[in-house]
Symmetry: C2
Subunit: 355 residues, 2 copies
């Protein structure tokens, strides 16, 4: 079992180091190889996704990814910016199914912006389609407006697109995930305005007929953004497109108040996957040894579960994380009075010890 380890920028290297530590402690005989990506890829090889890094990722069973991005790359041309590495990996590996759990840990309920009773026990799974939609749709670009309000003016445009098979496969992923949970799927669309999401709604409804044990409802994206704030616990599995999923999964993560705890997985149809924390590269705290490695460690657990068929090992990691939380260990981002503040490395060590 081969893992491509791509630490990236900012706090990426620090948090990935702890996840690697945990994986090694499990003695699973994983073959891990590291390569630069994002800003680090640009520094090392002039491109955020150097060809050697891409090749390593393609040949691996799974990718353990840190985070990319730093203000110092903001002035680069778009194709050279760090985030192009993520988009490039998603596209090259066909990672169409993004799993973004939004879980509120009992011990961290108070960290949420929301009142505790609204988030205690929260456990939402957002499934975001990740290789289609307006993210990749052609044509796109700048031009002279051919029509519209200001024909002849300078214009930029993008194309939102979904085909039936793309919607079908992500819908199956969502319904199957729901079967292992509370058996409810909310499909988020904007069918009242967009042709793309009318097709989305139609196809999800059709696929849903194959899962009579799962309750399906439909919600407009603006309403979903509201209901997440109003009553987040009404949701179980939420499935949506790439653009709406980008927004709603981040909103949902932040509801928990502890985004430093949230992992993610992005899978293709061969169960190859990219595993990364839901949070970003946080260049402001990079190198200080204070970042929370738990989201990355939990991403490694998802990797064992989804790509490496090691359910038992995944559960060991998850139980160890629960244990360190119960023991009161906290990195700065989740610290509160009465708990013990630890560094990035101390947290990793504690998880290893708790395994």
């Amino acid at each position: 079992m081969k893992i491509a380890v791509l630490p990236g920028d900012g706090i990426g290297p620090e948090i990935v180091a702890e996840a690697v530590k945990v994986l090694e402690a499990l003695n699973l005989g994983l073959e891990m190889e590291t390569a630069p990506v994002g800003g680090a890829g640009y520094e090392a090889a002039g491109h955020p996704l150097p060809p050697a890094t891409l090749k390593l990722a393609q040949e691996a069973d799974a990718i353990l990814f840190g985070a990319v991005g730093d203000w110092k790359y903001d002035t680069l041309d778009r194709p050279l910016r760090p985030e192009q590495a993520i988009l490039g990996l998603r596209k090259a590996l066909g990672l169409f199914a993004n799993f973004r759990p939004a879980i509120c840990y009992k011990e961290l309920t108070h960290a949420s912006s929301l009142k505790p009773e609204l988030v205690a026990g929260l456990d939402i799974l957002i499934i975001r389609e990740l290789t289609g939609d307006i993210y990749f749709g052609q044509p796109r670009g700048r031009r002279v407006a051919p029509d519209g309000h200001f024909p002849g003016a300078e214009e930029a445009f993008d194309t939102m697109r979904y085909t039936r098979p793309e919607i079908e496969r992500i819908a199956h992923v969502a319904f199957q995930a729901a079967q292992k949970r509370s058996k409810r799927v909310t499909s988020v669309d904007k069918a009242n305005v967009l042709e793309t999401f009318q097709l989305w709604k139609d196809v999800v409804t059709e696929v849903g007929k194959q899962y009579p044990d799962v309750a399906l409802d439909h919600m407009y994206v603006d309403n979903a953004a509201m209901q997440l704030v109003k009553e987040p616990k009404r949701f179980d599995v939420v499935v949506t497109g790439n653009m709406f999923g980008d927004i709603l999964s981040d909103e949902a993560s932040m509801l928990t108040g502890s985004i430093g705890m949230l992992p993610s997985a992005s899978l293709n149809d061969k169960k190859q996957g990219l595993y990364e924390p839901s949070h970003g590269s946080a260049p402001d705290i990079a190198g200080k040894g204070i970042a929370n490695p738990l989201a990355t460690i939990l991403s490694a657990a998802m990797m064992l579960r989804f790509s490496l068929n090691q359910e038992a090992a995944a559960q060991r990691i998850e139980a160890a994380v629960q244990k360190v939380l119960a023991d009161g260990l906290r990195t700065a981002d989740i610290y509160s009075e009465g708990t013990t503040k630890v560094s990035t490395a101390q947290m990793g060590d504690a998880v290893v010890k708790a395994l």
Copy 2:
């Protein structure tokens, strides 16, 4: 001064009746004419925006709008559904500038999902572009996919588009609004992925140079969705496109916990405007006399301010609403122990009395 009164569906007629009551009590000599819209338009004339209603709206100085929509119209073909009336009015009248304040009233802070210290005194103004973007961009439709992941498959698509002058005019609206407030504008985009929003960001930055007294910052839409939850008070004026504005303005409204209090205005370049509450038609409580009319009454105040040049009258209404809140009057949606529950009509009467 002529006002088109379009009550619409659900609770629309009840809440608009109270706003009309308040406007009449001001004795401004307003000429008000009522016409059916939405589901009511469909019932009366076979179309959500009957030609006579559109003509009335176009000839009026302002439109006082209730709400549209009811589950019973969900099975109609899309062009006949109630929400097409709103889209049709926005397009026909060129109502490009949507003002969506998200204000947390002192007396209602506890109603928010968020912890009181995060929302007490919240006062955000979201300015949403309302006639461009993927809402109206051509081409759109269904077809056989010409390329992409599944060439030959059934596909639906939409086009996101913005021209430079469309972005310029909404940017000017935002900067000018900020000059009257805390002098901060946050422009929300997705320039890291979308060509349209790279142009958006470039143009807003350029226009910003004409307003050196206003601080401008840029935020990705996914981050904005998070920051609204994490630290809503960091925002003053938020300006964004039609699609992102739809999502973020609803999220921001719900943060206040009292969406029944929030008005909105949609203006064109001749200061003609459509004024409506931020909430929907709530068919489940229609006809019960329990809906909150204050968002509509406050929308009437915005109408006096923006379209009818009656600032003093607008302020009288706003002060009256403050007074009834301070007096402890509450409709069911904002009721809490120790306050006095009143009906829709009683609330309208109380505002009239407090004028």
